[in-house]
């Protein structure tokens, strides 16, 4: 089933390939966008915007209306703490022993004294919270991003980060401590909760951006590329 779906998606994507412009200026812009599957991606993007309109934004508003700020902060902390094991593995895969130590310290403290991560006790450490994933690790290893890709439900991505998304599950300790079929429920739940949580946290910014942008698809593509590059560099300056 999964296999057939993948084939179908690949066929659709190929059929939807953009035509490469011949004019040199248009060609330069086309290369800069790194989006040969643009027609397919725009369709997916429109689909995701519908999902947002019908499900995600209402859920985020409902969450804001029913859970007070303190409770929402606990949810944010809790979800971030659940990501710590996979962040830790990726810290190590990137050879970043330093940040691995920080991640471990945060995870141990917040999971125990912080009651399963509901309280972020490590706010006053002299490091900031960070998240790592396999897409970032692959980038650090020198794997290029590949073409831009909009995934249904998951949103903006690229070939490398999509591979990372699937690979991360095999790197996540929760995969091994939770028995099937509960593991799938766990990962789905964490992803859905994370989507609602982050949509609520950026409700105004997201809606403002969507309203003012002349082409929200292109804006989202640009912001995804820039924010991934920022994350890969762990926030270090890019050498303007």
């Amino acid at each position: 089933m999964m296999y057939k779906l993948t084939l179908l998606a690949a066929a659709l994507a190929l059929a939807a390939c953009a035509t490469v412009p011949s004019d040199p200026v248009a060609r330069a812009a086309y290369d800069q966008a790194n989006d040969p599957l643009e027609p397919f991606n725009r369709t997916m993007f429109a689909f995701n915007m519908e999902v947002d309109r019908i499900v995600l934004e209402p859920a985020a508003r409902g969450y804001r209306a029913t859970v007070p700020a303190g409770g929402r902060r606990a949810v944010t902390n809790f979800l971030r703490n659940l990501k710590s094991p996979v962040t830790l593995v990726n810290d190590l895969l990137q050879g970043n022993v330093h940040r691995a130590a920080q991640t471990s310290w945060d995870f141990v403290m917040n999971s125990t004294v912080g009651i399963l991560g509901l309280f972020d006790l490590t706010d006053d450490t002299d490091w900031e919270n960070h998240e790592e994933d396999l897409g970032q690790t692959l980038a650090v290893w020198g794997v290029g991003a590949g073409p831009y890709l909009v995934l249904p439900f998951f949103g903006p991505s690229n070939v490398r980060d999509t591979a990372g998304l699937f690979g991360d599950r095999t790197l996540d300790a929760f995969e091994y401590v939770i028995e099937p079929p509960d593991d799938t429920r766990f990962f789905t739940g964490r992803t859905v909760a994370g989507a609602v949580e982050s949509r609520e946290r950026t409700l105004e910014e997201f809606n403002d951006l969507r309203r003012t942008s002349l082409d929200f698809y292109a804006t989202a593509r640009s912001l995804y590329r820039q924010s991934r590059s920022h994350q890969i560099r762990n926030g270090a300056p890019s050498g303007v």
Partner: protein
């Protein structure tokens, strides 16, 4: 990047010396070149701090819409190099645009930029704005780091200001919010409009349309 205490225990003594030596060398170079064409990072920092204070003061007046827009317009003109930002945002298409198109575009860009940020800035609700440092980009440009400190539980927002000094005058040419560059984002956004078939005239139409529909919200 701040270092964890454990690692610095061993490395600290030598690193301290090295850093001090490097610092002195840098200070020496800066003092030797300060009188020449070098744009001093401190001037850029002061510029951002001063303009930040002015902006907050404007907001605190709680002006009626029309007066607020007038003040914000004047503020943008003495703070940002709008024509430079407009040119950057046109990207590769600057080579295709006619002079008439460029002229019209720069005017439309200015209105678009002012509208967008007049609105966004009005939502700023008095969180603390701090200038935290700077680094030179080239002899005439500096990147000034700042942050907006938010209530407990929310991480501060890091904003960097790309300041250019020209004929003794400082102007902001770009800004980065958490590593996201405004100029690049706008360039890619405008490129999206142009590429979808509208060409440069399509972009001018989209900007005109957006500007015409703008209404300052609460």
């Amino acid at each position: 990047m701040r270092l964890a205490a454990t690692e610095t225990v061993f490395a600290a003594p030598t690193r301290g010396l090295m850093t001090a030596a490097r610092g002195m060398l840098a200070a020496l170079i800066v003092s030797m070149t300060a009188g020449s064409a070098m744009a001093a990072p401190k001037d850029a920092e002061n510029f951002v701090r001063m303009r930040g204070d002015e902006a907050v003061a404007t907001l605190a007046k709680k002006l009626p819409d029309a007066d607020y827009m007038r003040e914000f317009n004047a503020f943008v003109d003495r703070t940002f190099d709008v024509p430079a930002m407009a040119t950057f945002a046109l990207g590769v298409y600057v080579r295709q645009a006619t002079d008439a198109q460029k002229q019209e575009y720069t005017g439309l860009y200015r209105t678009y930029f002012i509208n967008t940020y007049a609105q966004r800035f009005r939502q700023y609700s008095g969180e603390r704005f701090e200038v935290t440092g700077s680094r030179p980009v080239n002899p005439t440009e500096n990147l000034v780091q700042s942050r907006i400190v938010r209530p407990a539980g929310a991480a501060p927002i890091v904003i960097e200001w790309h300041v250019r000094e020209e004929a003794g005058q400082q102007r902001i040419v770009d800004l980065l919010i958490e590593g996201l560059r405004l100029g690049v984002t706008m360039r890619d956004e405008f490129g999206g409009v142009i590429q979808r078939g509208g060409g440069i005239d399509g972009l001018l139409r989209a900007l005109k349309n957006n500007n015409a529909n703008f209404k300052l919200g609460a």
